[in-house]
């Protein structure tokens, strides 16, 4: 109960910070819009290529875009934490009896909610362009995105608590998230890839999330890849949250 209450309190603090800043809210809506306007028109001709999965351009690319959104938006969360470490905020919170898991979960919940909201906007905006998806599918995909975002945010916060400086955080996070993204088939389906790339992709957990999201958008909700993707992400997320909470408990700064 204390964990829930504390998580709610911490979430309230950071969600309040988010919505009191209209610039961030506007940017959050703008970002998916830019993807659709500036990137989606490129897809149409590609979808006609041989080896491209079934389902039409939008049904193949939107799931990838969503996973990418989840990964990249959550990868940057550590920057705000580092600023707070410097201002003594984290230290002040750690001296209170607040649950250390709540310190992580409360703020990550804020990140997850804003990313899920952006994803929903992106899905709705893509509908007039020709995206077709079952409402249940939308729920499953949003859950996948939420897991991806929570996993990434938990790792981001953990790394931020370890390195404690933007100068170290930025290169670590961005040089590691780029190959993870490229090897997940987010941008182009791995059906195009040579065998050695596909082998590496097979050990990349994110590729299972992408595969699951694509299956959902291809009206194959009961496909085994869906439950596989969700399970893999769920297990990793639990591990990452556990690790992140430990990092909050030990943080020295």
């Amino acid at each position: 109960m204390k964990l829930l209450r504390d998580t709610w309190l911490v979430f309230g603090r950071y969600f309040g910070l988010l919505i009191r800043n209209p610039v961030w809210v506007a940017l959050g809506v703008l970002q998916p819009l830019l993807y659709l306007i500036l990137f989606a028109p490129l897809l149409q001709p590609v979808a006609a290529l041989r080896g491209f999965p079934h389902g039409g351009a939008y049904n193949v690319f939107v799931p990838g875009l969503l996973v990418q959104l989840g990964l990249f938006s959550a990868a940057g969360v550590g920057f705000s934490l580092i600023a707070e470490l410097r201002a003594g905020v984290i230290e002040r919170l750690r001296v209170t009896p607040v649950s250390r898991v709540a310190l992580l979960l409360g703020r990550a919940a804020r990140d997850v909610i804003s990313i899920v909201a952006q994803s929903l906007i992106l899905i709705l905006l893509a509908l007039p362009f020709g995206l077709s998806v079952h409402p249940v599918g939308v729920v499953i995909v949003l859950a996948l995105i939420a897991l991806t975002a929570l996993l990434t945010a938990a790792i981001g916060y953990t790394v931020a608590l370890w390195v404690r400086s933007e100068d170290s955080y930025a290169p670590i996070i961005f040089t590691s998230s780029l190959p993870i993204l490229l090897l997940s088939g987010v941008l182009l389906p791995l059906g195009f890839a040579p065998q050695w790339l596909r082998t590496i992709a097979a050990i990349n957990p994110l590729s299972y999330a992408v595969e699951a999201a694509r299956a959902v958008f291809n009206d194959q909700i009961s496909d085994p890849s869906v439950i596989k993707g969700v399970t893999i992400m769920l297990v990793l997320t639990v591990l990452a949250v556990f690790m992140g909470a430990r990092a909050f408990g030990r943080a020295v700064a």
Partner: protein, 319 residues
């Protein structure tokens, strides 16, 4: 006799970096009694903040143990957290959030209901005279306002023991005096205050008892008066027309001079009895053809205590 609020036994902290091991705190034994203002004095890097961070459960000790507010530091950190307040050097309020919101949030973290946290916040705002800025984001606060808010955050749950890490560093004299007043008011209400400082006058004016730490070890402990009395005798300070070193050379080997040094362009001599030493000093300077510009006699200060214990002047190392 009641149980002390803080009692440490051989508290140690080692920081490892690559191959080197640094002993930041090298076996500290401290006792702080209920209701006192305890000053932890030492130059930067002496181990003050590290000790404080261990006592506030922020940093696990490498060795030794402590009881804080009646609970064991190693096994009962949660109970300790409920009973102590902590105001770190950086403060810890968010620039984007108003002071009132921060106080309410802090109260909620200590388990208060929204209503209770809100009324406690209003109480603290009045007590710390933050009415004018309570509803602005803390990024707009002056140094003194921000520090008073930080103290308020540490007092939200009315802790029996409050830790203040260098509470007046970087404040203007007026804000500094107000922080001192606040600390005295907490003391009057029965709160035990543990503060670190590298200002000697602060420790002297504010603290019931002081411990001096240097290189991770306690080098002296007692009331300011006791510590000053331990540096027996008087201090004669003088300056001559010309190179002060010459006066030091002439005087330092005299049997009545126990210690001597140069500081801020003046010669300081520690003597047993000032009134006996003065005429002798004047004769010696005269005999060496040195012309005296100023001479004064005073009781030892805490800086003299520090010098005696560590061989260095606190003013030099703190600067």
């Amino acid at each position: 006799m009641p149980e002390p609020v803080i009692e440490t036994t051989q508290l140690r902290r080692v920081f490892k970096s690559r191959k080197r091991e640094v002993q930041a705190v090298a076996g500290v034994d401290l006792t702080v009694s209920q209701g006192e203002i305890f000053g932890f004095l030492g130059p930067n890097g002496a181990g003050k903040t590290t000790t404080l961070r261990m006592l506030t459960t922020l940093l696990p000790p490498s060795g030794g143990n402590a009881r804080v507010a009646g609970f064991d530091l190693l096994t009962q950190p949660a109970q300790i957290r409920e009973r102590i307040g902590y105001v770190g050097q950086a403060g810890g309020s968010d620039r984007e959030i108003t002071g009132r919101r921060e106080l309410v949030f802090q109260g909620r973290l200590y388990g208060k209901s929204l209503a209770a946290a809100t009324s406690r916040a209003a109480e603290l705002i009045e007590m710390l005279e933050l009415e004018n800025c309570a509803d602005r984001s803390t990024g707009t606060y002056s140094g003194g306002q921000k520090r008073r808010l930080d103290i308020g955050l540490g007092l939200v749950h009315d802790p029996q023991l409050l830790f203040l890490d260098e509470p007046t560093t970087g404040l203007d004299p007026q804000s500094r005096a107000r922080v001192w007043d606040e600390v005295r008011r907490m003391h009057d209400r029965g709160t035990t205050v543990f503060l670190t400082t590298h200002y000697l006058d602060e420790a002297d004016a504010l603290c019931d008892r002081i411990a001096i730490i240097d290189y991770g070890k306690i080098v002296a402990e007692g009331t300011p008066e006791e510590l000053k009395r331990a540096v027996a005798g008087d201090v004669v300070s003088l300056s001559i027309d010309g190179d002060q070193q010459r006066a030091l050379d002439v005087l330092s080997d005299e049997p009545f001079v126990r210690e001597s040094r140069l500081e801020d362009g003046a010669v300081l001599l520690y003597v047993d009895r000032g009134e006996v030493a003065m005429p002798a000093i004047l004769r010696l300077l005269d005999g060496s053809g040195l012309r005296l510009v100023t001479i004064g006699l005073h009781r030892p200060s805490l800086d003299d205590v520090f010098l005696r214990q560590t061989g260095r002047s606190l003013r030099e190392v703190a600067a």
